[in-house]
């Protein structure tokens, strides 16, 4: 018996506009609404709407025997609500069939687990609530951004109450083992681990329209045979891919929709085959082994590691600076500021700064709104510098209202500190030191400033 488990990832970042140094301190509109709207509407037209429509027909046609799972990032959902509400409507139609499972992830499609576990947890809970509100489901399965995974993540996610977690079935973690079985993380035995069959997934997601590929063209019966071949060597074939594969990465004229349309009946021709959702696969099949994965794996690029987002010093500096000010952002209790900051945690911003041009660079380039990774870094750092100014201004306001006798002198007024750097947080800490010194007469310990607030 072979079960086929489809999971489709749906995500669209809120892209930044070309935020210049001259915008810092003058305006806080960071996101390119026009471009984001255009992209959402384009991808909705080419992919989300026709693909959802097709899935709905297939589910009805096969009377509950065809099933799929989705993970849709919170930032994508928000943008659908704003720019293409009909996409939300069609996902809700799918949810009502009972054949579609929605997974949990970080609301902002972020790398928060790597930098700030508390923030990670908050984003996961936000996403959980959003899915519940929109689709009436309480997710029991979790997938982290870009399938980033290791032991530590598994135990953390288990502590949040999830039963299933997904990861890339990379060769270097599986060795001789097959991705077509169900595993359990060494550090989280109450949870099951499903691994992507990257060969069969990428045949569709990446190679489908590649005329140089020896298996081109990929026909439904050939592919169904490959899937059925797992019979006797596994229980479940995990086909994990970006949903944009259908109509956006592989254009309609490649025949990708016809492929999807005819695949279920071809798979179901074999009486031993069926389709399962992620949680069904997890509950139906026993664990065959424990997997011990120390280093982070992901589903990106050839390396299957973190180097697409954190592979050079620009990416590392940007991410470190971003997460360093997280606590200060929260201390302001300003929802608008927090929301802006959180949208910056979306992993795509770091992906755009990748300079691995010569191997996977082409893919990066295709999805990159900037002409070069350097432009992405400049816009991002300029925005961070503006956020730092906002934090400072909000703190000063708070102090003013807290202590009426406290008056700002010209030195601490915001305009005199429009100097920028790629370690904006240090400016902030300096300013704080300064403010603290003003108040507590003498202490220069930067770690105390937040205590003073409370």
């Amino acid at each position: 018996m072979v079960s086929v488990c489809f999971y489709f990832q749906v995500h669209q970042p809120e892209r930044l506009r070309k935020y210049s140094v001259f915008d810092i301190g003058n305006n806080s509109n960071y996101f390119d609404e026009q471009k984001n709207k255009e992209i959402i509407r384009k991808v909705a037209r080419k992919c989300y709407l026709p693909a959802n429509n097709l899935l709905l027909r297939l589910i009805k046609k096969h009377k509950g025997r065809f099933k799929v799972s989705f993970s849709i990032s919170g930032v994508a959902l928000e943008q659908f609500e704003k720019y293409a509400p009909e996409v939300i409507y069609s996902f809700r139609q799918l949810a009502r069939t009972g054949c579609v499972e929605f997974l949990n992830e970080t609301y902002y499609h972020s790398l928060a687990f790597l930098f700030d576990k508390e923030e990670f947890k908050e984003q996961v809970l936000m996403h959980k609530k959003k899915i519940k509100d929109l689709f009436g489901q309480e997710p029991k399965a979790f997938r982290n951004t870009e399938l980033i995974y290791n032991n530590e993540l598994a135990s953390f996610v288990q502590s949040l109450g999830y039963k299933t977690i997904l990861a890339e079935g990379a060769d270097h973690i599986l060795g001789w083992r097959s991705p077509n079985y169900v595993y359990t993380p060494k550090t989280a035995n109450k949870m099951k681990l499903l691994l992507k069959n990257y060969k069969l997934s990428d045949d569709v997601a990446f190679r489908f329209s590649n005329k140089g590929w020896e298996e081109y063209p990929l026909t439904v019966d050939k592919y169904a045979q490959w899937v059925s071949a797992a019979n006797g060597n596994g229980y479940v074939v995990n086909l994990f891919m970006d949903y944009e594969t259908f109509g956006e990465h592989q254009w309609e004229d490649t025949g990708i929709f016809e492929f999807l349309e005819h695949l279920p009946s071809e798979i179901l021709k074999h009486p031993d085959n069926d389709f399962v959702t992620v949680s069904e696969a997890s509950s139906r099949y026993p664990v065959v082994a424990e997997l011990d994965i120390h280093n982070f794996v992901s589903w990106a690029d050839i390396e299957r590691d973190l180097s697409a987002w954190l592979g050079n010093s620009l990416q590392n500096a940007a991410a470190n600076e971003l997460y360093k000010i997280g606590r200060l952002v929260k201390e302001t209790n300003d929802p608008k500021l927090l929301n802006d900051w959180r949208k910056l945690t979306t992993s795509d911003h770091f992906y755009y700064m990748c300079i691995k041009w010569f191997s996977d660079g082409d893919v990066h380039k295709y999805f990159n709104p900037y002409e070069t990774p350097y432009e992405g870094f400049i816009a991002f750092m300029n925005v961070l510098n503006d956020i730092v100014i906002r934090i400072r201004e909000l703190k000063q306001k708070k102090k003013q209202s807290n202590a009426e006798s406290y008056t700002l002198n010209s030195e601490t007024s915001s305009s005199s500190h429009s100097f920028i750097s790629d370690t904006p947080s240090t400016h902030l800490f300096n300013i704080n030191t300064h403010l603290n010194a003003e108040q507590s007469k003498g202490t220069s310990d930067t770690t105390h400033f937040s205590n003073q607030e409370s």
Binding site: F22, S418, S421
Partner: protein, 417 residues
């Protein structure tokens, strides 16, 4: 066809004699071509008697036909009139020898140049009839009349190589009709045209009516430079960062945009010095504008700089800017990258088509130029990445690739015949 390709190459200059930009390209390209097995006979109008090369034959038309001179009355030059062609020739040679390389180039491209071009054509015709070769390859429009003559005389296919056009030199403001005619005639007589960028390909299509399928793009490479230079600028750098412009101060190079961007940078960060090296007809205007904006104390104008000084300036600068309005290729940013200085370059340049590890701007967008200058000066990680990857990038740009593409183009032309 023989196994070895034999090329009759026509050039107006070659280093060390009259080493302009095109001359340097010819030097590197011919050397790489010969390394890949091509035989080259390089013909140029003038040159020292003892000029030799260890990899190709060099013919100086002037020496082969010493008695063929244009008539004196045609000369319209600062040199004045001479009694006989020989005395003019002698004087001309002495005069050239007395000049600095820059002035020499000016003399060579001076008012006599039209006559020289046509005289060169008559000589090349005779050379072409005597020599054995498969193909003619001509650089620089001054050799186009000669290239056309050689093609007429031998029926051999002609490839011309366009490094710059009259439109780029003048910013399209005062195109010299006679130059335009020469360029156009060469383009239309050629079997295939090599251009140094897509940027200039568009120019040929739009301004010269050349069909696109006749044009092949071969980007220049980066000549290896001495990176072992040192200059003590610690006094300036104690307080200030350095932003560098190198190039002729003419309309084509966009010096005015550099000044306007500088003003914007200084509004955000007063501790920056701007060095503008080079001279040109716009220099007085630029100095005036700098004073007008009240930022004269932030500017340094060293005037004309030697190659060694260029290297030193690049070494001490924190960022290099090339805001050219129109740049068919543009090798100056490559020199900055060799000295590990991040470069900001105009998108209106051929070199921007091949570089990844630079920042690109529209020359007219002074806000963006200032934005990027400030980013490089203040985001240390950005500066370091550009510096590191920039050096790797220029190192990888060798002349083998352009030479290989030229050989492909030769073969294509010969197949068509």
């Amino acid at each position: 066809m023989r196994n070895t390709l034999k090329v009759l190459m026509l050039g107006w200059e070659l280093p060390p004699f009259f080493a302009g930009g095109v001359g340097m390209v010819c030097y590197h390209l011919t050397r790489a071509l010969c390394q890949q097995g091509v035989d080259i006979i390089y013909v140029m109008p003038f040159g020292p008697r003892m000029i030799r090369s260890d990899y190709m034959r060099i013919l100086i038309a002037d020496h082969l036909f010493p008695r063929m001179r244009f008539r004196l009355k045609e000369i319209d030059s600062l040199l004045g009139a001479y009694e006989t062609p020989e005395s003019y020739d002698e004087e001309f040679r002495k005069y050239l020898a007395s000049l600095s390389p820059r002035e020499r180039a000016k003399a060579l491209y001076g008012p006599n140049v039209f006559q020289e071009a046509y005289l060169f054509a008559r000589k090349v015709r005779l050379i072409a009839m005597q020599e054995d070769f498969d193909i003619i390859h001509a650089h620089d429009h001054w050799t186009f009349p000669a290239a056309i003559e050689a093609k007429k005389a031998t029926g051999k296919p002609l490839v011309i190589h366009v490094h710059i056009t009259e439109f780029d030199k003048t910013g399209g403001m005062s195109v010299n009709q006679r130059v335009y005619e020469i360029e156009r005639a060469g383009m239309h007589a050629a079997d295939l045209i090599i251009v140094v960028s897509n940027f200039i390909k568009q120019r040929l299509i739009n301004s010269y009516g050349v069909p696109p399928d006749k044009i092949r793009v071969v980007h220049n490479a980066a000549e290896a430079m001495n990176t072992n230079v040192y200059h003590d600028a610690s006094k300036i750098k104690e307080t200030d960062k350095i932003v560098l412009f190198i190039g002729r101060i003419t309309l084509q190079k966009g010096p005015d945009y550099f000044v306007e961007a500088a003003k914007k940078v200084l509004e955000k960060d007063p501790n920056v010095k701007f060095i503008m090296a080079g001279t040109g007809d716009m220099l007085p205007r630029i100095i005036e504008r700098v004073a007008e904006l009240g930022i004269a104390d932030k500017f340094i104008f060293p005037g004309f700089v030697t190659r060694e000084e260029v290297a030193k300036l690049n070494k001490i600068a924190d960022v290099f800017v090339m805001p050219s309005v129109s740049e068919p290729f543009g090798i100056v940013p490559l020199e900055a990258m060799w000295q590990e200085t991040p470069a900001i370059i105009s998108k209106q340049s051929g070199v921007s088509e091949v570089l990844n590890h630079v920042l690109k701007v529209d020359f007219w967008d002074v806000n963006d130029i200032a934005n990027k200058i400030l980013a490089v000066l203040h985001y240390r990680n950005l500066h370091d990445q550009l510096k590191h990857h920039g050096l790797l990038e220029v190192r990888s740009m060798t002349w083998e690739e352009p030479a290989r593409k030229c050989i492909e183009i030769y073969k294509e032309v010969l197949r068509r015949k």
